[in-house]
């Protein structure tokens, strides 16, 4: 097992009622790496994220974080505490809270109920929230309830919440879904900026977006990796063409 790997999956298998969502999947993400994962519907992309974040337990296989922590033994909250953040496919923010409160809830810090009741709030918190608001271009909307944001703004708010957690690894599920071309482009720029400091895994359908990211690509099909390399390399791979780009 690689000692440097930030995330290490080996032989991970998950089946639901006999359907193999993941079939001996193996994947290694290095610290500071940004990786794009593509694949047709049902290829196991979301299930892979569920396994890493503790939502689904694999029937077999190893999942290690930071070289030593066995993720298959932990629940979602513990895994989030280790520094793995997740953005859902459908933007999921707290709609009755303001944009600033959404970020406040996500900020790194104590997570226990008693800390939440009696914990002190300080200026540093406000400053950090302001910085994040600038990063995700929502500073003007800080006191607006998240329910009133547009789809693209919600996607960005959720990315901002991920950053607030100060994770080591971000799992981002279809960040460009439902965005306009301009928003998609801006999102690619934002993710590239984030990848300077953190490892990022991006699951995406939009090939133009993946091309804009310009990173190593892993192609999944029927729960296993069928090709890996640059976008040009995988799009030229006959196996990929057959199952995904095909016809």
């Amino acid at each position: 097992m690689s000692d440097q790997a930030l995330l290490y999956l080996d032989g991970v298998t998950v089946s639901f009622d006999g359907f193999r969502a993941l079939n001996a999947l193996s994947l290694v993400i290095e610290p500071g790496e940004m990786r794009a994962i593509i694949g047709p519907n049902g290829a196991g992309k979301t299930t892979m994220m569920d396994v890493v974040t503790g939502k689904t337990r694999p029937q077999s296989g190893e999942v290690y974080f930071d070289g030593k922590v066995d993720l298959t033994r932990l629940d979602e909250a513990a895994i989030a505490g280790l520094g793995i953040g997740r953005k859902f496919q459908k933007p999921t923010v707290f709609e009755s809270h303001t944009v600033a409160d959404n970020l406040d809830l996500a900020l790194a810090g104590g997570r226990g109920p008693f800390h939440a009741i009696f914990g002190k709030r300080n200026g540093a918190t406000q400053k950090r929230i302001d910085e994040l608001l600038d990063t995700i271009h929502l500073a003007a909307l800080r006191d607006v309830r998240a329910a009133y944001l547009s789809h693209g703004q919600k996607q960005w708010l959720e990315i901002g919440m991920l950053l607030a957690q100060e994770p080591k690894l971000l799992l981002v599920d279809e960040p460009a879904a439902g965005m306009t071309d301009a928003e998609t482009e801006a999102t690619a720029v934002l993710l590239k900026r984030i990848a300077h400091e953190k490892s990022v895994i991006v699951v995406e359908h939009d090939m133009a977006f993946v091309r804009a990211l310009g990173v190593k690509v892993t192609v999944l099909h029927e729960g296993a990796v069928i090709s890996e390399g640059s976008i040009d390399h995988v799009s030229a791979d006959p196996k990929v063409i057959e199952v995904y780009l095909g016809r």
């Binding site: 909250a77 505490g81 707290f94 809270h97 709030r121 309830r145 329910a147």
Partner: protein, 386 residues
């Protein structure tokens, strides 16, 4: 620390509610005791007890709103916590009767003598002391809520499944308390109370004090709930209500938050029950009836879910209507009316009375930030969902 937490919850609206409750706490007993009966301002004793009862119902409604309105836990078993608190108080009051019972037995309450029991059951030990009984008023419902919540929330039982098992819980207790050999008076429950802390429970002054205590307890509980909701804890609760799995992926142990708020809410319901029993003079197993718990949920829905003050308004209004209807020719139709009210509120006033009023006020002020926001999304904000 605690003071700061309470002050955080204070806004103009909260202060107004607190002032009203404090004014009621003073005015009603004074108008009953100090004003001569022939004056138009005199409040008759039966009205003091009646409104006092409404106030304890309002405290129960507040506890339901805390878990349902803010954390999305639709408990249809809060009547059980209310009744358990009531029984703890009832047991203390039974022990105060002493040898003044029908059988004149100083050691055993009447129903035990009737059942030919020779000694006091273990569960009754200590209840002759008020402090012990008062502790049990919060401890017993709190402990039941803790054990119940520990298993339910850890197993991630949510939504309608959770509601159903809370119903089962209160129904199981109903059946248990109905049995004579369970040791709490069976079908007849506990009644014929004589005095509380040495004061005659029938006396106008005692009733006045009980009334004021109920109003103060309600005010204090309201202040604590407001403080909780204004704190980060409250924000996490709302986050759990709106997007539970998102909250988990942010690293919050959702089950712990639910457990804390559920236990706290159960203890509040227990206190409500303990204040209810001396004012109505009886506690029997029918308080565990599933319908009672459902009624409490209706009060909250009518007043406005997730508003706290709405729970108080809803409980008082619906119970006032209930008293008015069930004492006239319309009595047989009360349940139809209650059901109709629930449907009407769900369809026409989904945010309840207070929620709708607050909405009007907010619209009139036309919160500037919302106006800046781009075309409001068609999705209904979570607080408006059923």
């Amino acid at each position: 620390m605690i003071l700061r937490f309470l002050v955080n919850g204070l806004d103009r609206w909260t202060i107004a509610v607190l002032i009203i409750l404090l004014a009621v706490a003073v005015a009603v007993p004074v108008l009953n005791i100090a004003v001569p009966p022939d004056s138009t301002y005199h409040v008759p004793t039966y009205a003091v007890s009646l409104v006092g009862k409404y106030l304890t119902y309002a405290l129960l409604a507040l506890s339901v709103d805390l878990v349902w309105g803010f954390c999305g836990i639709l408990s249809l078993g809060h009547g059980a916590f209310f009744a358990l608190g009531g029984y703890a108080m009832g047991m203390y009051l039974m022990r105060q009767i002493g040898s003044r019972g029908v059988y004149g037995n100083a050691e055993l309450p009447d129903f035990m003598v009737f059942l030919n029991w020779k000694e006091l059951p273990l569960a009754w030990y200590g209840f002759s002391h008020f402090a012990y009984a008062a502790l049990m008023v919060v401890l017993v419902p709190g402990l039941l809520a803790f054990v119940f919540g520990w298993f339910a929330f850890r197993s991630r039982v949510t939504g309608v499944y959770l509601s159903i098992i809370t119903q089962a819980m209160t129904y199981a207790l109903l059946l248990a308390f109905f049995r004579n050999d369970f040791g709490f008076g069976g079908n007849n429950g506990l009644t014929d109370f004589k005095d509380i802390l040495g004061f005659n429970i029938q006396a106008d002054t005692t009733r006045g004090v009980l009334f004021a205590t109920s109003a103060l307890a309600l005010a204090l509980a309201f202040l604590i709930c407001r403080g909780l909701i204004a704190s980060k804890f409250g924000k996490v609760l709302v986050a759990v209500r709106d997007a539970e799995s998102r909250t988990r992926f942010l690293g919050y142990r959702v089950e712990n938050y639910k457990l804390v708020v559920f236990v706290l809410s159960a203890a509040m319901a227990g206190i409500a029950g303990a204040l209810y029993v001396p004012q109505v003079g009886i506690i029997n197993p029918s308080e565990f009836a599933p319908a009672n718990s459902i009624e409490a949920v209706i009060w909250v829905a009518v007043g406005g879910r997730g508003t706290l003050s709405g729970a108080i308004v809803g409980a008082v209004l619906v119970n006032f209507a209930k008293t008015w209807f069930t004492s006239g020719a319309l009595a047989p139709y009360w349940l139809f009316l209650l059901g109709g009210l629930f449907i009407a509120v769900t369809l026409l006033l989904p945010r309840g009375i207070v929620g709708t009023l607050a909405g009007f006020v907010r619209e009139r002020r036309a919160i500037p930030p919302a106006a800046e926001a781009p075309a409001p999304n068609s999705r209904v904000p979570a607080e408006q969902r059923g």
